[in-house]
């Protein structure tokens, strides 16, 4: 090997290793600890009674009805938000992808909710908009002669889905609008000249062009949505009952409210497996459109 190549290798290794080592530690050490704790009978409030539990924590966690329910809530939440943000995101981006007065301002307004911190979005929606007595929606409903809806007691999951969708729709719009700008306008023009309808242009030109951005949006959002926590923490605390308890929130209650380290760790590992399952599934479905650069 030449001196230059050897030097390059050395420089490459030296500069990359801090990041690799740190990320490795950040991933492996806590995960190994979670794995270890998940086999222990370990409650922080009663640390003396600590012993090996085998798979007891897992069977306890997996058999409990709250686990199955939280799994369902997690999937419903992630699934609905994905569908809502992608469908509305595509429609809105296609709508605003034209020259009109104030086009730049419209774009800024559309992407703004993405920069609002989750606790703020959650509380602004819960208090100022969705409050059944003094919220703006209640007033709007009364104005058109309807009974105001008690959002968080009657439609808890729908309310959370609404808030989270409002946060992530701007992300989809931002990505789609950026991607549409790289589309060849002459191609569209030519198709219209040939007599193609607007629907046909959308179906055969725009949608294929957006396939890759859609795949990316679904992947990135799925990663973040599987971790939805703050919106639930600040609005419903998982309730009423366990109507809005998703997997992260369930693990949180077991770890930091009941201090049951063993069960919480087992639940955390289940969350890891679920996230990997979703990631593998998404890669299978969307992998092709991702690698076609």
């Amino acid at each position: 090997m030449s001196e230059v190549a050897r030097e390059s290798r050395r420089a490459g290794r030296l500069t990359a290793s801090p990041a690799i080592i740190l990320l490795f530690l950040w991933m492996i050490v806590p995960l190994a600890m979670t794995l270890y704790f998940s086999t222990q009978n370990y409650v922080l409030l009663d640390p003396e009674n600590r012993d090996f539990a085998g798979l007891e924590n897992f069977t306890y966690f997996l058999k409990s009805s709250s686990f199955l329910h939280s799994l369902l809530v997690t999937l419903e939440l992630v699934g609905s938000v994905l569908v809502i943000t992608v469908v509305l995101g595509v429609l809105i981006s296609v709508l605003v992808d034209a020259k009109f007065p104030g086009q730049g301002v419209v774009r800024l307004l559309l992407i703004s909710p993405f920069f609002i911190m989750p606790t703020v979005s959650a509380l602004v929606w819960k208090n100022l908009l969705m409050n059944p007595v003094s919220g703006l929606f209640a007033w709007l409903f009364q104005r058109v002669g309807l009974t105001p809806i008690n959002w968080f007691s009657d439609w808890p999951l729908l309310s959370v889905v609404t808030i989270v969708s409002w946060e992530w729709l701007p992300f989809a719009i931002l990505v789609f609008v950026t991607s549409l700008q790289s589309m060849d306008p002459e191609q569209k023009e030519a198709a219209r000249m040939e007599g193609a309808t607007a629907v046909a242009v959308f179906r055969y030109l725009t949608l294929p062009h957006l396939a890759r951005p859609i795949a990316v949006v679904v992947m990135v959002e799925a990663i973040f949505l599987l971790n939805t926590f703050a919106e639930i923490f600040t609005t419903t605390s998982g309730g009423p009952g366990d109507a809005t308890t998703n997997l992260p929130y369930l693990v949180f209650t077991q770890a930091l409210l009941e201090f049951d380290v063993g069960t919480a760790s087992a639940g955390g590992l289940v969350a890891v497996v679920l996230a990997n399952g979703v990631a593998a599934l998404l890669l299978r479905v969307f992998g092709k459109s991702l690698t076609q650069a």
Binding site: S8, R9, G12, R13, L14, T15, A16, P18, A19, I20, L23, W26, M27, P30, L31, M33, T34, L95, A98, F100, Q103, V105, V106, R107, L109, L110, I111, S112, P113, F114, F115, M117, P118, T119, V120, V124, N127, L128, L129, S134, P170, L174, V175, T178, R212, P213, V216, V220, F229, A230, F233, T235, L247, P248, F252, A264, G268, V272, A275, A279
Partner: protein
């Protein structure tokens, strides 16, 4: 022909109106929050809602005095700024390595880094909480700095990598031929030509850290609690101060919205791991 032109013009007008309408609806909650922050506590509850009222700065005065807003704002600034700094110090060399000294394993390592982002936070909540507890780092800013920096490291490395990839290799090689050391090569040659990419990466990290809520809520109480935790404290039934909540929220979100507006295009690149530019 003029008939067609006319129809086209109408279609364009309808489209513009619809676009504005959709944008205003989506932005409305933010506008309403800002408006409420200038109402009195009583006015914030009034039915029908007040649209025209005498604005007051009372809430802003109140949160500075009673809620100790600046303490939480300082925590937000230190944790998100500190984590960005630490993250950049680690991410820049790594991205440099992947862009200019690639090996057969580079692509694999990049994908692995991305995959660490898929590890759900709850999967490591228990050990991180226990480690923090036993090292007496619970509710400390240094803990949040470490966690934020590590959590966003993959995104930062990826984003910087996509920028560095576009830098011509010749100028780095020329510097190396002239006898520049590794550090000189990075700091005197690479960084000045990729200032834009560095700034966007730092801004994205700043935004993500500032808005982070999972770790902030679970690992802090008062000492190190950032703004997202202060806002969350208004979720308790005692905290029904809507006008004050709105004022805190407005102050907490305004700087980030401005940063986001200024760097929207670059953010797409970072958040999609370079897949959409």
């Amino acid at each position: 022909m003029s008939d067609m032109k006319k129809r086209r013009r109408i279609a364009e007008t309808v489209r513009a109106i619809c676009s504005w309408l959709v944008a205003l609806i989506i932005f409305f909650p933010i506008f309403w929050m800002m408006l409420t922050s200038f109402k009195t506590e009583l006015g914030a509850f009034t039915m029908p809602p007040e649209f025209l009222f005498t604005p007051t700065l009372e809430n802003y005065r109140e949160i500075m005095e009673r809620n100790d807003y600046l303490h939480f704002a300082w925590n937000s600034l230190v944790t998100s700024g500190g984590a960005t700094l630490v993250g950049m110090l680690v991410a820049v060399p790594a991205a440099y390595s992947f862009a200019f000294h690639p090996t057969q394993r580079t692509q694999g390592i990049l994908v692995w880094m991305l995959s660490t982002k898929m590890l759900p936070a709850v999967g490591v909540l228990v050990p991180i909480y226990l480690i923090a507890r036993f090292t007496h780092l619970l509710d400390s800013r240094i803990l949040l700095v470490i966690i934020f920096a590590l959590a966003n490291l993959p995104i930062m490395v990826w984003m910087l990598y996509t920028y560095f990839r576009d830098v011509p290799r010749d100028i780095l090689e020329a510097a190396r031929m002239d006898g520049a050391t590794l550090t000189q090569e990075m700091y005197l040659v690479l960084l000045p030509v990729s200032r834009g990419g560095l700034a966007s990466t730092a801004l994205l990290s700043l935004i993500l850290n500032w808005n982070e809520a999972f770790w902030s809520l679970n690992l802090t109480t008062t000492q190190a609690a950032p703004l997202s935790a202060l806002v969350a404290s208004f979720s308790s039934p005692q905290g029904l101060f809507w006008a004050r909540l709105s004022a805190i929220s407005t102050l907490a979100c305004a700087p980030i919205i401005l940063i986001g507006w200024a760097s929207q295009r670059q953010l797409v690149r970072g958040l999609t791991f370079g897949a959409v530019k």
